[in-house]
Point group: C2
Chain length 221, copies 2
Amino acid sequence: MSESYPQVFQERPEVPDVVVSRLPQYVRTLSQLLSEGVQIANSQQLGEKLQITPAQIRKDLSYFGRFGKQGRGYRVDHLLEELKQILGLNVTWNVAVVGVGRLGRAILNYPGFTPDGFQLVAALDDNPSVVGQQVGGLTVLPVSHLADVVARYQVSIAIVAVPIAYTQQVVDRVVECGIQAILNYAPIMPQVPEGVNVRSIDPVLSLQSMTYYLANGVSPE
Amino acid sequence: MSESYPQVFQERPEVPDVVVSRLPQYVRTLSQLLSEGVQIANSQQLGEKLQITPAQIRKDLSYFGRFGKQGRGYRVDHLLEELKQILGLNVTWNVAVVGVGRLGRAILNYPGFTPDGFQLVAALDDNPSVVGQQVGGLTVLPVSHLADVVARYQVSIAIVAVPIAYTQQVVDRVVECGIQAILNYAPIMPQVPEGVNVRSIDPVLSLQSMTYYLANGVSPE
């Protein structure tokens, strides 16, 4: 995909990952504003919606060029399209789900992926009693089919929803099949080679960062 | 809880939320090192485990005082205990789960909360066919019982796992009952009054921040 954005890339060699991680929230908020008929939004208004300071918003966007005119706010449709292109959200990404337990089933039945450009194209599990079942419109395949599935459907992303004890070996398998983006649901941080991106969804980490505020009687910045 | 840390607080009035959000990962990594018998770790070693630069680690920890001796690394047990106390993880927090659909069931059966100090003490849902069921060892109660449950069990945190259409109203209800920390599973950002902390678990946002790297052919910083 990198061929599509060569000129953009010369201008922004290094964007901090925390900034990249915030951009999808910007996209979501801008989509919402657009659907409400809002055409121009300033960083104050975006900040209220996103619960981020206006200064932070201006700084984040500055990595990608000048989107707004001084004092006039951002054109919502323009900023939205630019951010979608920057994030690669103008195409559909094929996703394989590995692990079809209770959590995997919830994921496979989650309706939120498709409208946002993520197509769940395969469900895989090594439990013989699960293989062959229909879940979320897909027939569960054994994990040994992963390489085939990745090649056949041009899978770019894997969602790994297996127990802790199996997470590292499944992640290793996924990486061997050439996948470079992994969404991991287990509460461990798998080791991956450089160039492979893992995001972990872990409710405990989210809870633990909230107890800071509860314990100390302060509010988030 | 704020009474416990008065002297600490005078020294660190404002810690950026991104730093607070990283601390639980530090705690997890330090626990792992301790269980492996590691007594001293430098920021290089921690950085490799956490996939964060050593400079970032030193900067993050600097908000909370000097934990390490120059050039000698951190005492793992000491740093772990300090961070746990800072995060309020030296006590157990009672949690109510609102929404007992497929996702709520996965949450209620998730074994990872208890060892980390979060006790799921109530499950609530407004679907009459779900109320009264046993899920994860709890009897599902109607949402109208929420205020009672919060008072009786001293619930500090709510996990909200309801469909998008109901999320805002359920969050409003949770806030009315005095809860100030909410973990939200729906792919929207609910509006809450100042002082209430919401973390959203949203797989799409995580996926969308990974496509940035796929689309642009670069690796995270």
